[in-house]
């Protein structure tokens, strides 16, 4: 049938001449390209010693934030867990006692807060849902591990380190 676009190229196999049948010039040409790359700038890096710069809108590991006085911002309202399309977030709320007022910002706080990093798709909807600006996906790449249970990150890994008095 006649082609509609006329863009198609018909290849014809010609018989190879003497130099082509030798194969050596083609081999040397290929080796030359290989050697040339030894003097070019490398595209790979030695991760984890060297890290690439993340873009501004990079979404990595979650962190639970603290306020100016070092108190945890999260009130366990459950909106992040509701917004999560992968159902990666679970939490248990608890009531703040009087002597814990310096630890938690509101009268309710998350006593357990877990994110399953194997379920998480790093979409950032939890960040958007949070009414208290408590969760941000501003961390690194999630580290590899051997056991599935080690991918469930609790508050010990998620909560930011408290500010040090300088």
């Amino acid at each position: 049938m006649e082609s509609l676009t006329n863009k198609k190229k018909v290849l014809q196999q010609k018989p190879m001449n003497f130099w082509e049948r030798l194969y050596l010039p083609a081999i040397f040409q290929g080796m030359a390209i290989t050697f040339m790359h030894m003097f070019k700038k490398k595209e790979t890096i030695f991760y984890p010693e060297v890290k690439r710069e993340f873009s501004e809108n990079w979404r990595g590991l979650h962190s639970l934030k603290r306020d100016e006085e070092g108190r945890e911002r999260c009130t366990a309202c459950g909106l992040c867990a509701l917004a999560c399309p992968a159902e990666a977030i679970t939490m248990i709320a608890a009531e703040r006692k009087k002597e814990e007022a310096h630890l938690y910002r509101e009268e309710k706080y998350a006593s357990v807060y877990e994110i399953n990093m194997l379920r998480c798709i790093f979409c950032g909807l939890c960040e958007e849902a949070c009414p208290k600006e408590a969760i941000y996906l501003d961390g690194n790449i999630v580290e590899s591990n051997y056991l599935r249970q080690d991918f469930i990150y609790g508050k010990d890994k998620l909560v930011e380190a408290p500010f040090k008095a300088s």
Binding site: A76, G78, L79, L82, K108
Partner: protein
Amino acid sequence: MSEKARVTIDGITVEVEPGISILNAARQIGGDLVPPAMCYYSKLEGSGGKCRTCLVKVSKGSEKDPRPMPKLVASCRTTVMDGMEVENMTSPEVIEARKGIVELLLINHPLDCPICDQAGECDLQNLGYEHGAAGTRYEFERRTFDKIDIGDKIQLHMTRCILCYRCVFTADQLTNNRVHGILGRGDASEISTYIENVITNDFSGNVIDVCPVGALTDKTFRFKNRVWFTKPVDAHRDCPTCKGKVALWYKGEEVLRVTGRKDQYGEVEDFICNACRFDHKKTSDWVIEGPRHIENTSVISSNHYDTMKPLPVIQQNKALMEANKVEFERTKKI
């Protein structure tokens, strides 16, 4: 007076018993044209007229006197007249007024919805979402109160109260000696008990159900879970003091709380006793009727799907279904 009164609400005419309120006439039509109500409660005598969210415009007073009413009227307190014409959602004046009412109701409201146990089934949240403005113009300190324990099962957050008086009417009408009421006047008024008296009546727990906001909450459910993570189930039991028809709110195997069954206007069908509400939290205490229907506009029903079948607009591919027969059967079991 056996004749029926004809009343037109937002262009829809309905024949109702004479002497009922505009709000109840609108509820007989149903749908979007029902004015919202924060303080009116059909099961409580004398309730209504406090919150002003149900304001409507009466553009024609009656057949005999067709003059419009000079101001917007509270539909829960205004009785219908024959030939009356009412505008609710069709009147921009009403929508503007309602926006103002929501702003006024929210002036002293702490907006601590992330903490509040009522969030997700709160009338004020719904009202603010549907009728309110996005921002507030109020710049001053909001009034605050300390938390008060009314008995060991009920907690009062006066800060969240909108002074609808529903709980006062409940205590007055369901229980024989009321010990809580409103103290102070105007800006300083608050719901309280005298010297934090304990309410010991069998039906005192109903103040939790009638409260449209999170001012009166169940202490046994306090911070246990968010309502939208719990699963509501209709259940009943043979109760000597009340009808025993309740809604159980499950999380996994556990009953987190027991409430009355609320209808589409947030009013309970039957008041339940404290024994049902606070003391029977085991599945073995109840006869389960089935899952409770929650409107799909509610956050409680989010992420829950009624059916696993595709919508009827999607044509069924018989060959594909035959090829994936095993998979389909597996989803049915779930």
